[in-house]
C-alpha cells in the first residue's frame, strides 16, 4: 500500500465494530462486540497520524506504545504489533475489551479534537486476540534474581504486577481466594463483554511462560497471614491486590428481604458460577419479572444486562412475558459513571433508565420477599466532593413502584479479611490501604498495594497501572537499588 497523506488518513471513517443484533443478543450470553477483521483493523490503523507527541500513550495508565503497535499493524507486521504491545501490556485481549478508552487514550487522540478518535481499544483487542491464537511472542523472563514475591489476589492489579516481576526474573506466587484467577474479570464482568475462556487463556499463557505459580482456593488472612508469607514462607516482598470485593447495601428498611441481592452475588452466580447454564451447571440464580438495579456504574449495567438475558432465557422456556429491567439512579444521565458503550448497549437491549430517583424503603410482599420500592424524586444541587452534582430529595414526591427483585450496585469496599493479624498495614476509615501513589509502598516494609484495595472501586486498567508501578518499585527495592522504606506521605 502506498504511503497515505495526512489528508487521506483523515478521510478514512472510523471503522465500526460488528456487533450482535440487539434483539438477538439480549437472549444469549455470547460476546456482543465481534472484533475487527484484519482488513478492518488495517484500515483503522491507517487513520493514525503517528503524532510525534504521542498524547494517546500519555493517556494510558500503563503507557502502551500505541503509535508503535498501530504502525506495525498498519504495515502488516502483526508480530511486530504484538511485540510493541507487550512492551507495556501483557493482557491486551482483556484491556481492549474493558478499558474506558473514551476517557483515556482515545480522549487524548488528536483526531478526537476535530472528529472521531482512532479506535485504539478495538485495535488493541485485535492484536491481543491475534496473539492468543498464534502465540508468536511469549513473554520471557530475563534471568533469575533468586527473590521470591507473593502476590495476594489474582485480579488485574495482582496479575499485572506478577507478570512484570516475572519478566524481571523474580519467582512469583499468586494467592487467589476463589477457584479461578482473574478477580473481577471472572466474577464481575459478564461473558458477553469479556469471554471467560479468553480471560483464562490470556492469564494462563502469561503465567506459564514466566513460571508464575497461581495458587487458587488460597485465602490469605485465613490460610496464611501476611506475617507468615513474609516470615516462615520465605517471601522477600508482597503485593496486595485484593480489590474492593465487599458489597454495600443501602441502610434502608427492608434491605434484608428475600430478593434483595448485591450485584456481587448476582454477577458471581452468573459469571463465575455460570448460573445462566443451570441446571447443566449447579449454581442457580433468580431473576425477577420486574428487576430494579440501583446504581449506574459499569457494575449496574452488567447486572441489568445479565438480568435481561436471564429473563429472555426464562421466557423462552416458559412462554411467559419477558419482564422489565430498570436502572434507578439518583442523579441524571449526565452524571452516569458507566462506560459510554455499556450504557448504549444496555439501552439498545431494552434496559429502562429511571433517573433522579432515590430509595427510601424496600417494600415487602408479606411473605418475606421483595414487593417493591418506595422512592423519592430528586433534583440536582451543588457539586459535592466527587465533583458531581449532589442529588437533593424533593419533598412530597414519594412514590411506590412494584419490583420483585432489587440488585444493589452502589459500590464496594475492600475486604478486610486479608488484614487479619496485619494491623501494621495502615488503612483509611473507608477500609482502603494507605499506599504511596507512585511506588505502591504501604506503611509496612516489604508490603506494596495497588488497585481497588487502595483507590476503592475503580477501573481494570487503573488497577493494572498500579500493579505495574508497584512492580517497578519492588524490583528496585529487591535489587537493593530502591529508596529506603519511608511512611507513605513522608517527604
Amino acid at each position: 500500500m502506498a504511503e497515505l497523506s495526512k489528508r487521506e488518513r483523515m478521510g478514512i471513517p472510523r471503522q465500526g465494530i460488528p456487533t450482535q443484533d440487539p434483539a438477538a443478543r439480549r437472549t444469549n450470553f455470547d460476546e456482543v462486540a465481534l472484533g475487527y477483521t484484519l482488513e478492518q483493523a488495517r484500515r483503522e490503523a491507517n487513520r493514525c497520524l503517528q503524532c510525534v507527541k504521542r498524547p494517546c500513550t500519555e493517556g494510558c495508565p500503563v503507557g502502551v506504545l500505541i503509535p508503535d503497535f498501530i504502525r506495525a499493524l498498519r504495515d502488516g507486521d502483526l508480530d511486530g504489533a504484538v511485540r510493541a504491545m507487550k512492551e507495556k501490556n501483557n493482557l491486551p485481549a482483556i484491556c481492549g475489551r474493558v478499558c474506558p478508552q473514551e476517557s483515556q487514550c482515545e480522549a487524548s487522540c488528536v483526531l478526537a479534537k476535530t472528529g472521531e478518535a482512532v479506535a485504539i481499544g478495538r485495535l488493541e483487542r485485535f492484536v491481543g486476540d491475534y496473539e492468543l491464537e498464534r502465540r508468536t511472542c511469549p513473554p520471557e523472563c530475563c534471568g533469575d534474581t533468586g527473590k521470591r514475591v507473593a502476590i495476594v489476589g489474582a485480579g488485574p492489579a495482582g496479575l499485572t504486577c506478577a507478570v512484570d516481576l516475572g519478566i524481571l526474573g523474580h519467582k512469583v506466587t499468586v494467592f487467589e481466594s476463589l477457584h479461578s484467577p482473574g478477580g473481577v474479570l471472572v466474577y464481575g464482568i459478564p461473558e458477553f463483554r469479556l469471554p471467560k475462556n479468553m480471560v483464562r487463556e490470556e492469564i494462563v499463557y502469561a503465567a506459564e511462560c514466566l513460571g508464575i505459580e497461581i495458587r487458587t482456593d488460597a485465602v490469605v488472612g485465613s490460610l496464611y497471614t501476611i506475617d507468615e508469607l513474609l516470615g516462615e514462607q520465605g517471601f522477600d516482598a508482597l503485593f496486595l491486590g485484593t480489590g474492593a470485593g465487599l458489597p454495600s447495601f443501602m441502610p434502608i428498611p427492608g434491605i434484608n428481604l428475600n430478593g434483595v441481592v448485591s450485584a456481587n452475588e448476582f454477577l458471581t452466580r452468573v459469571n463465575l458460577m455460570k448460573a445462566y447454564l443451570f441446571p447443566e451447571y449447579d449454581t442457580p440464580v433468580k431473576v425477577g419479572q420486574r428487576v430494579a438495579v440501583i446504581g449506574a456504574g459499569n457494575v449496574a449495567m452488567d447486572a441489568a444486562r445479565c438480568s435481561l438475558r436471564l429473563q429472555a432465557i426464562r421466557a423462552q422456556e416458559t412462554g411467559e412475558e419477558r419482564g422489565e429491567v430498570h436502572i434507578l439512579y439518583r442523579r441524571s444521565r449526565t452524571e452516569v459513571p458507566a462506560r459510554a458503550e455499556e450504557v448504549e448497549h444496555a439501552e439498545e437491549e431494552g434496559v429502562l433508565f429511571d433517573f433522579l430517583t432515590d430509595q427510601l424503603e424496600v417494600l415487602g410482599d408479606g411473605r418475606g420477599n421483595v414487593g417493591g420500592l418506595r422512592n423519592i424524586r430528586t433534583k440536582l444541587g451543588e457539586p459535592d466532593e466527587s465533583g458531581r452534582r449532589r442529588p437533593v430529595p424533593l419533598e412530597g414526591s414519594e412514590y411506590d413502584a412494584e419490583f420483585d427483585m432489587v440488585v444493589m450496585a452502589i459500590g464496594t469496599r475492600p475486604n478486610p479479611l486479608v488484614f487479619n493479624s496485619a494491623d501494621d498495614v495502615e488503612r483509611t476509615r473507608w477500609g482502603t490501604v494507605v499506599a504511596d501513589e507512585d511506588s505502591g509502598r504501604t506503611t509496612r516494609e516489604r508490603v506494596w498495594a495497588g488497585g481497588d484495595v487502595v483507590t476503592g472501586a475503580a477501573t481494570v486498567i487503573s488497577a493494572m497501572g498500579a500493579g505495574k508501578r508497584a512492580a517497578a518499585d519492588m524490583h528496585s527495592y529487591l535489587e537493593g537499588e530502591g529508596e529506603p522504606w519511608q511512611q507513605p506521605g513522608d517527604e
Binding site: H179, T216, Y224, L246, E265, F278, P416
Partner: protein, 285 residues
Amino acid sequence: MRKILRKEQLTEVTKLMVIDAPDVARKAQAGQFVVIRIDEQGERIPLTVADYDREAGTITIVVQEVGKTTMQLGTLEAGDELATFTGPLGKPSEIDRYGTVICVGGGVGIAPVFPIARALHEAGNTVLSIIGARTEGLLIWEDRIGQVSDELIVCTDDGSYGRKALVTEPLQELLEERRGEIAKVWAVGPAAMMKFVAATTKPFGVHTIVSLNTIMIDGTGMCGGCRVQLEDGARFACVDGPEFDAHRVDWYTLLARQRSYLEEEARAVEHWKQRCRLDDQLEDE
C-alpha cells in the same frame, strides 16, 4: 484439587469424608467451615468442619444428602478429588473456661458440634451434651460426643433409640435442674431446631450460640448472600459468623432466606437423577 482419603457411611444418607488438606488442617479450629466444589460444573457449598487432624494433615467433613451437590458428593469414593476445598473460613468458636456448658447437636449437626464440645472439654468445662435425630438410623457419633462430654443425653423424635423427645425437652429440664449453673449453650443443627433452642434458653437468660449454615457462594464476605438479620442490623455469616448469639437472630427472615432456592434445588436434583439414570442405561447397554 484435594483428595478424599477415606469415606465412611454413617447412616443411609450421611457420609463422612476425610480430606487431604494439610494447610487447611494446620489452621482449622472448632466452629470454622470450608467451602467445597466437586467439579467444574459444581456449585460452592459451605460445610462446617467436623474434625481436623493437624498431624495427619486432614479435615473431616460429614455430609447429609439433601440436595444435588450432597447427593453427588455421596457417590464419590476414597481416591476421588474435589475441585475446590477452601478454608478454614469464618470465626472460630470462642472457647474459654466458662464452667458448665451444654452442647446440643441435631441430625447432621451433631458432627460439627463435636469439635466444639471437645475444645470446651479440653478447656476444662463440664460439658453436658444433648444429641438428637429424627430416628435411630439417622443418629451419628454418639460414641465420639460421649468421649468429650461429662453427661450425654440421646433422643430421637420417634423414640426408636434413647429418649423419645425433641432436643429441647431435656434442654429445658437441664436448665431448670441446674438453674444458674449453666454458663453457655451451643446448638448446631437444622435452622428450625436452633430457633427452638433459642426460644427454650431465652427465659433462663443463658447465652446461647448457634452455628448458621446459610446460602453463600464465596465464603469470604464477597457476595452478601449469607446476610443474617440481627437485632441491630445485618451481618455476614461467612466472615462475622458462622456463630451468632441465638437470642439476637431474626429467625423469621433467616428461615425465609433458607427457603429461597427450594424450587431450583428440586430442579437440580431432578436433573441429576435423570443424568444418573442415563449413565446407568449407557452402562447396561
